[in-house]
């Protein structure tokens, strides 16, 4: 095993827990703290990527390109990454993100749909960016199918492809099998992005590492969608104990989590009843707060909404199906009462 490269996604995945309400001041402080602790890549974007600000996903308080600006000026050593989900963001926003100081493009698709990302990888490379592919909801297909999709991203110019456990539904041996398959199939690097819905965030990172992963994602306090991610400060401590610290300052990261991020956090994501349901049912982690809001509005248990979304095989980005499922459930209940 070798020390992995760490990307911190507090300011992107954490955007979900903050309901996309990050301020410039918050972004500057978190970026500076991560930078000082030696984190090499910091991802900053709306939770659903560039142009994610919408009714579907929630509007940003501050336009995400302005937050990229802020982070780029606050970081001395760290590089700034953005997320782009084709179908939501376009090359237009990617060009603008580069002008604002982003140098790493993370391009994410549903794990079966890599071929919608060709034009975005093409532009990222043309603009001289490092290009990282994320195959989301990786639990839905076999390691072999995942490797086929990863090869497409490699052919478009990706420098690394991530096994992305968007539902926090994968068990350690499933993570290891997927990473191993990608390592064999690709010449480029392989990464792993965890969610902690089953309490396996850190454990799955270790499984990925043992299977040969080159890159891992974390977020301070695990701040992210669903039950959040692997906590960057915990990951740093664990890697250090394993003799695999890639140059992170463990104490500084602990302080960043405790004294910088925690006081800003609206709540601490964890595998509570609803987030655990997401991991158990295999649905997209970002559905959590939307399902709670709509459940409350229509008098439904978020768990029954989330389980039904899992049954319907909703994929990444399908937040509109939450309302659809909820309205169907209300109608079913009314019909049951009437009869």
């Amino acid at each position: 095993m070798k020390p992995p490269r760490i990307t911190d996604t507090t300011l992107r995945d954490g955007s979900h827990a903050f309901r996309h309400q990050f301020t410039r001041e918050q972004v500057r402080r978190v970026t500076a703290a991560l930078d000082e602790a030696g984190v090499p890549v910091i991802e900053v974007t709306h939770g659903d990527g560039l142009a994610g600000s919408s009714i579907q996903y929630g509007f940003s308080r501050v336009p995400d390109l302005d937050l990229v600006d802020e982070a780029a000026s606050a970081a001395r050593r760290a590089r700034i990454a953005i997320l782009l989900i084709p179908g939501i963001g376009t090359r237009k926003e990617l060009r603008e993100a580069v002008r604002r100081g982003a140098t790493v493009a993370r391009i994410a698709t549903q794990c079966t749909e890599a071929d919608i990302s060709e034009q975005h990888f093409g532009l990222a490379k043309e603009l001289g960016m490092e290009a990282v592919g994320l195959l989301m909801m990786a639990h839905m297909i076999s390691p072999q199918q995942l490797a086929e999709q990863a090869r497409l991203m490699e052919s478009y110019g990706a420098d690394c492809v991530y096994v992305t456990d968007s539902a926090g539904a994968m068990l350690p041996w499933q993570v290891a099998a997927a990473v191993r398959e990608l390592k064999q199939a690709l010449r480029i690097q392989v990464g792993f992005h965890p969610h902690n819905n089953l309490g396996l965030g850190i454990g799955n990172c270790l499984a990925a590492l043992e299977a040969g992963a080159d890159q891992l994602d974390g977020s301070l306090r695990g701040c992210g969608a669903g039950a959040g991610n692997a906590a960057t400060e915990v990951l740093a401590a664990v890697l250090d104990k394993a003799g695999l610290n890639p140059g992170l300052d463990v104490f500084r990261l602990m302080d960043a989590a405790e004294f910088v991020l925690a006081p800003m956090m609206p709540f601490q994501p964890m595998p509570d009843r609803d987030a655990l349901t997401i991991g158990y049912a295999g649905t997209y982690s970002t559905f959590l707060l939307h399902a709670r809001r709509i459940g409350e509005q229509l008098g439904l248990d978020p768990r029954e909404i989330l389980v039904e979304l899992g049954r319907r095989k909703a994929v990444a980005g399908q937040e509109d199906w939450i309302l659809d499922v909820a309205l169907d459930l209300v109608r079913q209940k009314q019909a049951a009462v009437a009869s």
């Binding site: 090359r91 549903q110 749909e113």
Partner: protein, 305 residues
């Protein structure tokens, strides 16, 4: 015009879209007579099917169409790149082009919203499948209360998204967003597309969100307008169904806390050639047939029926 008092039309492009359109026109020709299907691939299944149905076919592409002066309307189901070339030669030959590609040479049309304004132009464009599906309902809200912001999410089954859509996904979002503004009437439009790989494939779904300019717009009038528009679209797309909504919600937006109208649509294809889940393709061919019908009628009578 042919001896039987019908307007002669041709289909250019013998792929999935062209073939489905062929079946739709043959099933319900109205004032049109389909006389030619032109492709470029001699192995094409679409051309073989056309021949089997007794239609004239050609592998010479647009050339065969140009050689027949009686053809008045041409449905172009090729590609945006090819259409740029076709548009020029068809116009020079005095033929009307109904463009199913994203080339957007001519004005955007959505039959129940604005086709009446473009019955005399040489080229009309059908925007995108997401645009054909959602613009009618944005217009339905907009005619009650001007729409400040319209956002749509189109979800299509992976199997019904061909390589053209996949390689040009940015063009889908930008063209659809523009259609929401130009034809739907929204001051600002945004479009999102999602591909869902579930098996069996999901039926095409569209979610339309509108923020009316007037926060106190009458929900009953909006409901009524939407209901009438759904019925209007159903005249040419029978599988067009409002599954849920209009649902009225209060949301935080860049314009403060506002009323958001959500409408959840399902579009089941007619299954003329393409499978019924591919409502995204069905609504394009159904809209094209409807546009051809109305333009042909206009050619014959000089008025819309």
């Amino acid at each position: 015009m042919s001896a039987n008092g019908k307007v002669k039309v041709a289909i250019l492009g013998s792929g999935n879209i062209g073939t489905d359109l062929m079946y739709k026109i043959l099933k319900n020709p109205g004032p049109m007579e389909l006389v030619l299907v032109a492709g470029i691939d001699p192995q094409s299944q679409g051309l073989a099917r056309a021949q089997a149905l007794g239609l004239r076919t050609s592998v010479e592409g647009v050339q065969a169409i140009l050689e027949d002066p009686e053809i008045r309307i041409v449905f172009d189901a090729t590609s945006a790149k090819a259409h740029l070339r076709h548009a020029k030669v068809l116009r020079e030959a005095g033929k009307v082009a109904v463009d199913l590609t994203p080339a957007a040479v001519g004005p955007y049309v959505v039959p129940p919203v604005n086709l009446g304004e473009h019955l005399d132009v040489p080229n009309v464009n059908l925007i995108t499948c997401g645009g054909q599906a959602t613009i009618p309902l944005v217009h339905a809200v907009n005619r009650v209360s001007p729409v400040r912001y319209a956002e749509i999410v189109s979800t299509v089954g992976s199997r019904s998204a061909g390589p053209g859509t996949r390689q040009n996904i940015d063009e889908f979002t930008s063209t659809t967003a523009r259609g929401l503004e130009v034809i739907g009437g929204a001051a600002m439009g945004k479009a999102i597309i999602i591909l869902n790989p579930a098996e069996p494939p999901i039926i095409m779904r569209n979610t339309i969100y509108c923020i009316p300019e007037d926060d106190d717009a009458d929900p009953d009038r909006i409901r009524d307008s939407v209901k009438r528009m759904v019925a209007e679209v159903q005249r040419y797309v029978p599988g067009y169904r409002l599954k849920n909504g209009p649902h009225f919600d209060r949301r935080e937006t860049p314009w403060g806390e506002r009323t958001v109208v959500a409408m959840l649509l399902e579009i089941e294809g007619a299954g003329d050639y393409l499978p019924t889940y591919a409502g995204n393709l069905d609504i394009m061919t159904a809209a094209a047939r409807r546009v051809g019908e109305l333009i042909a009628q206009h050619m014959l009578t000089g008025a819309v029926a």
